[in-house]
Symmetry: C2
Subunit: 453 residues, 2 copies
Amino acid sequence: MTHFDIAVIGAGSGNFLMNRSLSDQQFAVIEEDRFGGTCLNVGCIPTKMFVHAAEVAAQVRDAARFGVDATVDQVRWTDIRDRVFGRIDPNSASAHQHRENGENTTVFTGHATFTGDHSLSVTTAGGSEEVIADRIVVAAGARPTVPAEIAQVPHHTSDTIMRIDALPRSLTILGGGVVGTEFAHIFSGLGVEVRIVNRGTSMLRKIDTEICDRFTALAREQWDCHLGQGVARAETTDVGVSLVLADGTRVESEMLLVATGRVPNADRLGLENTGIELHDDGRIHVDEFGRTTADDVWALGDISSAHQLKHIANHEARTIAHNLAHPEDLQAFDHRFVPAGIFTNPQIATVGLTEDEARRAGHRITVSSRAYGDTAYGWALEDTTGICKVVADQETGLILGTHILGPDASTLIQPAIQAMSFGLTAREMARGQYWIHPAMTEVLENALLGLGR
Amino acid sequence: MTHFDIAVIGAGSGNFLMNRSLSDQQFAVIEEDRFGGTCLNVGCIPTKMFVHAAEVAAQVRDAARFGVDATVDQVRWTDIRDRVFGRIDPNSASAHQHRENGENTTVFTGHATFTGDHSLSVTTAGGSEEVIADRIVVAAGARPTVPAEIAQVPHHTSDTIMRIDALPRSLTILGGGVVGTEFAHIFSGLGVEVRIVNRGTSMLRKIDTEICDRFTALAREQWDCHLGQGVARAETTDVGVSLVLADGTRVESEMLLVATGRVPNADRLGLENTGIELHDDGRIHVDEFGRTTADDVWALGDISSAHQLKHIANHEARTIAHNLAHPEDLQAFDHRFVPAGIFTNPQIATVGLTEDEARRAGHRITVSSRAYGDTAYGWALEDTTGICKVVADQETGLILGTHILGPDASTLIQPAIQAMSFGLTAREMARGQYWIHPAMTEVLENALLGLGR
């Protein structure tokens, strides 16, 4: 049994807690997998590296539209994979090593189970160790779910598909959310025939309806989409895997990727032995300061947050680090204006309320959408589908939401995030600064100028 | 002789004066060339369309680095050219037509010469017409200069080179400024051997020294650069044109592009017949409201501005339109935080003071630079050269300048322009909003976080 000041379960964003203001604390860092968590190892970062390779290949195929005839001679999948993980894996290993060598950190490689509010049993390769800590931070993340009717056929999840040894000729993706649409973009960009099966009638159903409808139409153009139907059963076939849909349609591919959602890992931590309460959806309940319902037990990131986003987890880690160091001066999470990027094709970025949400919240709103194609840089891109939409409150002039579909959406949206976060009105924002002509930012400027007053 | 309320010389940004608040005024619009001015016809917009085509071709050639083997089979120059001008020319024509049909606008197609402070002689195809106006706005722009030693050999300027009938095998560009480096990017991207001759030892010498040095090194890698020497003479050769430099070096190409600078068109307007005074560099002198030294004569854009930038000219046009409509409530130009984008390779964007300028201005500064390659999205791009640099005042925490070299610089810089324009400190900006992970914007976030306090 070893006693620590602070035990951290999960070395994803949890690994950012050990900053200068807590350097006097002895930390146990308990991680059963790789350091860096979902984001670094199986999420944000490697997917974006694959996305860019896919976009390079797609750009080659699309080059003729710009007067440049070009051919993809070969996609070297294993080279792409090894380039990505040749960068990721050492990075993860060095983060691990850094903690192993840390003066105030002890790393436990294994699975943690609570045996009480401040005691953990860690199952390691060498057996079991008991860790006692005055304060515990739970940052154990989430994992992909696989529906029961799929579990029996060969399938991948986002945890495994990036490390496959060869590209399949065809890939069925079950799920039309963020993960499904990003992988659809990756694999179709790299030349794989992609089929999507999604229970809902639209893709990315949580985003603004106008963007959602437009994206769903574009998804149908680029992928073989089967929307609005559940899977009745799954079969292994000579080709690979066949999903039989409710209406009898068979969707068959060499490979199957299940992207139907993620569940918090809270069910695997023995929380029944603690005072830590859960939400109905399995997330750990935390207050605005990151405190669980057990004294001196905190939680952050995908295991407790409604937003499964790395920038949220990082913010929560910074906030909890502060709160651990300054118990007399607790800071609250700031979850007011949470942006998200979806690196599918086209790229999407969104922040704040959708048009429908703004109406439902009782705002008298003004809405303005502008096409990329109506700005000079959109001409250069020959863009025909991009759109920037701003929803504002007509009384205050404040921006309630911004929703962008098109190239570089995740970069373009930042000034809107900034305006919302600092209370700048749409009009001030549009006219109180210069917008470089002819940069792509003009689509946001124009959308702002289009708002009613 | 016809009398008007307002005469506008130049239908570039000048064409934006006739807005709603001036709808009771009778306008003469005098344009000797195409509507839309430099930006639409021979500047910002077509160059960006060529730039993107060049980047598509360059991306194909660079694709192997991402595990995608690809080949450029053919660059269809005339198709690119005709796509660009097939969009530009009708746009210019329709802007012209719109004014021809305007109830309160009369278009004169010809060259205007002042015969007095409020009288103009317009030389048209049909002869000469006299235009009298109570108020006159001079928005006649600028034109490329060609040094005397070059004038005798065949050469292009930015006015003509985009409409050539075939790509040369090789192109010498005289001048290492914005125009020269954008065309170097365009033509080398499209497969032309590019040589640059520049009197200065560095390219883009007006930008921040760190960015300038980095760009100059990258220019040397991608183009055949002859820096730090003037041209002794120019000769026509069997190949095309040869520039003989001061040290005797001969730089020979099939085609020559002269990009040595632009001069305001103020010397062609008969200003000696008016009370309009000029700066030493030939620009029309205006006060902060856009007024020249002659009563009720105004000027805007490249003919008077120290910034030859379309977004400045547009701002000045909006301001003067207001001032014409509201003489009792004059608004001043806001030239505090003027950004600029340079769409060369890599792209560059800059706003505010350079590090040297900030020091010379007496600020106690803190400076932070971050490499694109040190952020997750930079990994995806496999970027090895991009950099984001922020210069801030250590006492106030305000951002004094931001300088970015790398992909999408002109979009990435917008939040910094916004922060500077609205007086947000670097620290507030970095931590008071979310930055999507892993978007390219994180390079700016990281640069901000790197500033000393």
